[in-house]
């Protein structure tokens, strides 16, 4: 693939996109003629699955790929920048590998996007007509930016080797690529924002102010949330790719490289995930500010149970991350000294997980309901925000400590104040834990306004201040530290790699479920409060049914991702064979 010249690569990209767009428009035209006219209220029906489920699956698949191709370039460029400044070939290789991944994934993203582009106007002509009336210009801008992004992306990839002596310019092209990706994200978020928290239109849906229709309550918080989640997700997929390559590697050198790639990607993913709850909180606040009814529906009403599922999944992700870090101690010379601490971290994680997944309202049989009453004395107290926030911050702190232990496990500090430094570390960890627990207990005794607006931010603030302080302290203490031995990259049991795959699969499922909740918050409205959904699908499915659809999307996505990984490996083998034949 990389043998192709830059011009040919660019032509390839433009041709692919043009063909797909042309196919899309031709399909729209032909199906529009062939299919029967829409119903009076503007619907056609997709056979077997129904229109809603079909669009749901395709949209989520498209969104998963889009998240990947928008997220991965951010840290591919960051890695390239670091490799340029530090002249580290390993960083350059990882950046190139990431670029290879997202360049190939563009095609799958565009295919899913084309299917969606055909499906929506055919199945929901009235609704799409309304969206075009209100936000039509943004759609045309989207196509222009998409062409620009494909051109820049293909140029970035195909010029990699040619521009190895002009790294600064190449990094700048990467930055431009990310800028275009961000623009696309802002455009698509404005569509979802309008559907959920519409503005700029009259009560009957007539356009009053287009900019107000773009700049809705949800627009920026959703864009921010998606941006960070894309990095988390993209890094997760890269970690899964590294794990897959590790498992299938035939040489120690490859295993060492993919072990390092998996570790780097996973840490980027988890590092960025630390800020997701805060941005999610901001998104929630904006939804409440727009419409309290929708806020309650999402947080405490019909969707309350899905938050329990979210807790189960995030708890599983944190367990996988810690497991990966704990098992990584095996490859660190001197790492065995720290296994004695792992059991304590495990107990903290287990207790945190227990509190986090405890539901406030539970599914009860009649007999259980009779015996328990309205709320169980223990579950009723563990299932509320005061307990859950405390569990989350303590679990995150334990995860950070697992990371810190891994990082310093092969080193010994040589600074004269090492003992004092250790004492400060203990004081910081214990002090902040006691403070966070204390605030958690106190949260039960105050009004919800104080809990939400004052105590919760303080709890999260203490957590962030603590990890920043620990990070600075460790950096100072371990500067010029004695190295017991270099990490034995590649000397990891295969099961550790399944933890990386587990993180990514769980995150993908979580994305599907949270996307469903965000969309379901509109209930029986296409555009909330403006345009009613009058189709036979204008009801919320049961959680079980929604879970099946989310699982189907996740399985389909990983089938395609598996195909992508397989084609990369096949290309590499073909190139290696070609190189061997030439030699």
């Amino acid at each position: 693939m990389a043998e192709v010249s830059v011009t040919k690569g660019l032509i390839k990209g433009v041709v692919k996109l043009t063909v797909l767009l042309t196919v899309g428009f031709v399909c729209l035209f032909l199906f529009g003629k062939i299919l029967s006219a829409p119903t009076e209220d503007g619907y056609r029906f997709f056979p077997m699955l129904g229109s809603r489920v079909w669009v749901w699956i395709i949209a989520q698949l498209h969104l998963n790929f889009a998240a990947f191709v928008l997220g991965v370039p951010i840290f591919a460029v960051s890695m390239e920048f670091l490799s340029w400044r530090r002249t580290d070939d390993r960083l350059d290789r990882i950046a190139y590998d990431f670029t290879k991944l997202f360049t190939l994934a563009y095609t799958l993203t565009a295919i899913a996007g084309t299917v969606l582009m055909v499906s929506l106007p055919l199945l929901y002509p009235k609704f799409m007509g309304h969206l075009m009336d209100i936000l039509g210009p943004t759609w045309w801008l989207y196509i222009v930016v998409m062409y620009g992004e494909v051109l820049v992306c293909y140029y970035y990839f195909y010029s990699w080797h040619q521009m190895k002596d002009k790294k600064g310019v190449h990094v700048a092209i990467g930055v431009l690529l990310n800028f275009m990706g961000l623009t696309m994200l802002l455009i698509t978020s404005s569509w979802v924002g309008y559907m959920t928290t519409p503005g700029g239109v009259s009560e009957t849906g007539a356009l009053i102010n287009r900019w107000a229709a773009i700049k809705t309550y949800m627009w920026i918080p959703l864009s921010l949330h998606r941006l960070v989640a894309n990095v988390v997700f993209g890094a997760g997929i890269a970690a899964a790719y590294a794990a897959y390559r590790f498992i299938t590697s035939e040489t120690d050198e490859d295993r060492a490289y993919y072990d390092w790639m998996g570790y780097t990607s996973a840490m980027i993913s988890i590092g960025f995930s630390l800020i997701l709850p805060g941005i999610g909180y901001l998104l929630g606040v904006e939804i409440y500010a727009y419409n309290e009814q929708m806020g309650i529906q999402l947080m405490g009403g019909f969707f309350a149970w899905l938050w329990v599922m979210q807790a189960i999944l995030i708890g599983a992700i944190l367990m996988f991350v810690n497991y990966y870090l704990w098992i990584s101690l095996n490859k660190m010379p001197g790492g065995e000294r720290y296994f004695k601490y792992v059991k304590f971290l495990f107990i903290i994680m287990l207790l945190g997980y227990t509190v986090w997944l405890t539901p406030h309202s539970v599914a009860l049989s009649l007999e259980e309901a009779r015996r328990i009453g309205a709320y169980h004395p223990i579950l009723g107290n563990l299932g509320v925000m005061a307990a859950k926030n405390t569990a989350v911050v303590i679990s995150y702190l334990a995860t950070f400590l697992s990371f810190a232990i891994f990082k310093m496990s092969n080193k010994e500090p040589v600074v004269p104040w090492a003992k004092a430094g250790n004492a400060i570390r203990i004081i910081l960890v214990l002090g902040s834990s006691v403070a966070m627990l204390g605030i958690g207990v106190y949260s039960y005794m105050v009004t919800s306004a104080v809990r939400v607006k004052v105590l919760s931010p303080i709890q999260f603030g203490i957590f962030f201040v603590t990890i920043i302080a620990l990070f600075i302290l460790d950096n100072m203490m371990y500067k010029n530290a004695k190295i017991i031995g270099e990490p034995r990259w590649g000397k990891m049991p295969e099961r550790s790699q399944y933890a990386l795959i587990g993180i990514t699969v769980t995150f993908t499922w979580l994305m599907a479920m949270m996307g469903y909740m965000r969309s379901g918050g509109r209930q029986y409205w296409h555009v909330y409060g403006i345009m009613k959904d009058t189709s036979p699908d204008a009801y919320l499915p049961t959680h079980g049914y929604a879970a099946i659809v989310c699982s189907t999307v996740t399985v389909l996505f990983f089938l395609f991702i598996g195909l992508l990984f397989w084609s990369i490996m096949k290309l590499e083998k073909a190139q290696a064979a070609k190189g061997g034949a030439k030699a």
Binding site: E292, G301, Q523
Partner: protein, 266 residues
């Protein structure tokens, strides 16, 4: 039946202790799970029992987490796999293999299947929604009221605060206490006739979590006003707009907050 569970927990603890001494992580794993299950079930001796659904969640989480724990170090992980490998592969364990693989496991699977499919004569388990979302607007005896941002107008009349609470108390005892109870604990005379049981107002997890506008809407509209989007609902709450004036609803709201020491969410 409940008295068996402490014994089960003790057996689990014993298995776990012996396994630690003999360095058998597999049996330690089993011992811990039995101990946890026994403890969760035994809780019913002292407090209302944990619901089956929550015990299932805790046990699934424990299996996942302890599998992780016992596979961190290579030596422990190999020790964990050892009994399974031995039963499945060792020549001298043929009888044990037949007993476990061909008799015990199929019997266990059959038993679990039986318990899942055997007909029961209880109503299905219901996942209750605690906070139905109020509408942005509501009609109260023909008057349109904006629910969002709605505040209790009587709270501004600080001079008559005690009187209004006292009035609310009378209204409560004339209308609400039959179900919600003399002590506002959801244990009124008629409470046991309903499923789900009427909500208690004491504690920090019912009215303390709600803005007063929600309480006003819920009392006024009752089950008839519950949102269509999240149906079907299971509620017997009457629509008190049929019996009370707007002011009376606010008064009773003030009383239930005051009597329970709670404050409306702001």
């Amino acid at each position: 039946m409940l008295k068996i569970y402490p014994v089960l927990a003790a057996v689990g603890l014993l298995i776990s202790i012996v396994s630690v001494i003999r360095k058998s992580s597999f049996f330690n794993f089993l011992g811990i799970l039995i101990l946890l299950f026994g403890l969760l079930k035994s809780a019913g001796l002292f407090i209302p029992p944990f619901p089956g659904q929550v015990i299932t969640m805790y046990m699934a989480m424990s299996i996942f987490s302890f599998l992780i724990y016992f596979s961190i170090q290579e030596e422990t992980f190999q020790a964990f796999l050892e009994p399974m490998r031995a039963v499945l592969g060792d020549e001298d364990k043929k009888i044990l293999r037949v007993l476990i693989v061909f008799i015990a496991l199929p019997l266990l699977t059959g038993f679990i299947t039986y318990t899942k499919v055997v007909p029961v004569y209880e109503p299905p388990v219901s996942a209750r929604i605690v906070h139905p979302e109020p509408p942005s607007q509501m009609e109260f005896r023909g008057k349109t009221i904006n629910v969002i941002g709605l505040e209790n107008p009587l709270r501004k009349d600080t001079a008559n605060f005690a009187k209004n609470v006292e009035d609310g108390k009378k209204i409560y005892y004339q209308n609400c206490f039959y179900c919600h109870g003399d002590d506002l604990d959801g244990k009124g005379h008629l409470a046991q006739a309903y499923n789900p049981l009427p909500l208690p107002f004491r504690g920090g997890d019912t009215i303390a979590q709600l803005p007063e506008s929600f309480v006003f809407w819920r009392v006024s509209k009752g089950w008839r006003g519950l949102p269509a989007g999240s149906g079907p609902w299971n509620s017997s709450m009457p629509s008190f707009e049929d019996f009370l004036t707007e002011e009376e609803v606010w008064k009773v709201s003030m009383f239930i907050y005051e009597a329970t020491g709670n404050k409306p969410r702001t």
